[in-house]
Symmetry: D2
Subunit: 279 residues, 4 copies
């Protein structure tokens, strides 16, 4: 029984690791990150927990880099699962870079893994509650985000710099696009008997996030948690509970969907005490 | 240890029963339905499977009837869970009746149970993939559906007969409203430490559904399944997998959300071979 | 994606059905029973719930009948799972028949399915809490039950009629043997990358059981439930919770084990108020 | 919603942490260990993952220390769960110390938490596959281990130094005793509507275990894994899968049981290629 399936994690962080811990027993994991140090750090923790892991450097904004990742993965066995937790946050980068990684990169990743995913395989990509706070796009705009060929995506008029207010807007539209690409890709993955979904988490505690809660914007965060129904931020293992359902046979009838897990912050943003003032 | 919690199921069918089987061990179940025969039939099956069940007649389009249900439930113990699977389908009724039951009735049900739900309790209401196929409403319309006081809901201009094309439209807007009420109620349920979510299933096999698949519209259904990514209709137990997550401690960070489980039919409707012809 | 895996259920009852409902989505099920009417009744319920089922007549006390079942199953696809819920109870039969079905038949079933089970496949056989109430056998006796070639099993001296007190004793020793065969078979199934475990349930409610609780021995049962820690009989879905873990990837490190789920009745039998009087 | 339940973890290591990550969302955790540095290290990781944790120093071989732990826990809320992963291994200590901690200490821990556990609460104690490799004790010996008052346990003749061969024997008999105490305690915990079970893991990878695999006895371990059905050691998250079932409502009918999760090593030890030579 030497052959193992291969599970690819893009984006080496606590969230991706918590998901992989639920689904990768006995298989091979490739942990890929833009920073090889991140990939190595997560790999080390997983190896010390008994997993069989290869760290790898990838730039998901480059199709060539994604194709290299896939070749490396396929050398180890059939690719049965993709967990994409890579992405830039609005405070980390520029509008252009966010669109290049979070929107274009994710689209290419879903497209290329959809061409090689094992029969019966599954994928999940981490989106964000932010996508739920953006005003509705028109049906035509949604369709453009879903179906424009990946190499033409960044030429869409709606994605040109003059139409994107700021990094938060870039991030929101990237996450909206992720959801639409997941729907469109679900059709293609389905032709291989595979499934692809997304998860939109609220704020999840990580060592980095904890630094922010205890930093200068700490009161902002504490107010947000206090005013959301859950009254607290989320835990990576709670997101992993959702991913585990989506990626196992228990979720065999779920594909092309997005799952919001945010402690009710979105509900409170629209209809509770987190509502922005309206004029 | 005589005291049991009470789990209320409204809508006595295969879907509600599959959910209740996952969450009601050792507790008291009230199975409520508009037709007492339905409530009694499901109760019989559950009793024969070892559950402790009381059948009850309810009309969820009547606040008084809902309040009676709650009084009966509370006599048995604290109400810890609500599973709402009641509702009329587009082919069963008139526009007016659908709005009265599926839109107004569900809204009142969520409101009234939200006033009595046990600390840490959970609820789930069954919506439908149909809500995903409707064109986007404006942000104002969404807000009206979410926040209009229940007794004024049916007076909304957008819900008047001249603005509702047909029973399918009535059904879709009712399901859209359900999702919005769930968000708004999540804020209120959260004040009691409770959570409320919805599930939007695609076509799920039941004895009744099977009759339809084998009936005059059988080819329509067979085509739909063949062209959806899953290639088959869903199973009530697969919906129960989602409900179990939402209603257990594993879903403690999920509230105010909707979960689409449709075998990718919605994805195919928008971006696959189930697309209606576009002009 | 036409090829389906095949899941074989031997013993068409509520318990087997509850397990199959958790694991067979989208696959082919063969429901095999000594009475074809039972197989057909359970198949009907499963078909009406959306499963793809073939009823089949099998006599698990006959190797030939088991081999025919396997041939039929393999025509449909690879056999990925075995759920064995077949067996005679002490009140239903003679000592000889119980040994032939529950001891020899189960041993042959595990042996033959172990030769064809798909790589990564899993099996579970339903044993009973009764096996836990028998005095310990010697290590040599245990080894004989575990390793004697199946065709010689019923010739073991310890299994001859003069050494078996009554049908309960036959039943207990059969269940003890099941546990030992599961351990020995786990080694062989492991060579195919497959796993096999057993579950020992306490008293589980079914329509038949309910008749007994309400019959002449009703007080006996009510006393037993009242004096066990759970204070109630079990529910088939609770046994299915255990089977689901054992048969999914979540149980990938579990093989050759037995899981007792009896509401604590065994604990109470040894150390609580269900203790028989000791002289 | 200020009141949280309290979950007590005794034994601050990877296994206990993996379990706690599955069950403690939104509650208070007390991480207690003989070495406060261990408690603090695990607490730090859990805090960085979003949990609410208090590290605490405990010596489970002292009833007084256990009672202090309980008092501290109760100040924070009701104690709803106990996860006991404390214990000495055969290579770490003397026969006497192993009996004092693993046998007497665990017995007292289960006894004292059984007096305060919340209605509906659950406990799990980590035992070991080692308990399965010991020859059967007599029914009388089992009963003595199960029911002797805790303060008299270490005076049992069978536990005197001249009757214990070595530290492995001490360890095995301690684990056997754990299983019996769990059964006897299940009766008492049941009176409070609470449940208690044990898990017997095989070899689980941790940073410490990994050092051993790569050390001078590495070949011994590699041989053991290669010859067990799973072909690999276990992962803490796989044990957590079992614990999650036992401690949630899904395991409501399970109490007084032990669950062996060892990759089939025990099966192979008795009936496969891990069998010791027999003369």
């Amino acid at each position: 029984m030497n052959t193992k399936d291969v599970i690819v994690l893009t984006g080496a962080g606590q969230l991706g690791m918590a998901i992989v811990r639920r689904i990768a027993y006995g298989n091979k994991i490739i942990v890929a990150d833009w920073k090889i140090e991140n990939a190595e750090a997560i790999s080390k923790t997983l190896v010390e927990a008994g997993f069989d892991v290869i760290p790898f450097k990838v730039d998901i904004s480059s199709r060539e880099s994604i194709l290299t990742l896939i070749r490396v993965a396929q050398k180890e066995g059939e690719v049965s699962m993709l967990v994409n937790a890579a992405g830039l946050s609005p405070s980390q980068s520029t509008k252009e870079h966010i669109l290049q990684v979070d929107l274009y990169g994710t689209s290419v990743l879903l497209e290329e893994f959809g061409k090689v995913i094992k029969k019966g395989g599954t994928g999940v990509t981490i989106s964000s509650q932010s996508g739920y706070r953006m005003p509705a796009l028109t049906a035509d705009e949604d369709r453009l985000l879903a179906t424009t060929p990946t190499e033409e995506l960044l030429q869409l008029k709606m994605l040109q710099s003059e139409n994107i207010r700021d990094t938060l807007h870039a991030y929101q539209i990237a996450k909206r696009c992720n959801g639409k690409r997941v729907m469109a890709e679900a059709v293609k993955w389905g032709e291989r008997g595979a499934r692809i979904n997304s998860i939109s988490p609220g704020i999840i505690v990580t060592p980095l996030a904890l630094d922010e809660f205890n930093g200068s914007r700490g009161d902002f965060y504490k107010n947000m948690f206090a005013k959301s129904p859950a009254g607290r931020p989320g835990i990576a293992d709670e997101v992993a509970n959702v991913a585990e359902l989506l990626m196992s046979e228990k979720g065999a009838f779920i594909t092309g969907s997005d799952f919001l897990i945010d402690g009710g912050a979105t509900a409170s943003y629209f209809y509770g005490s987190l509502q922005p003032e309206r004029n």
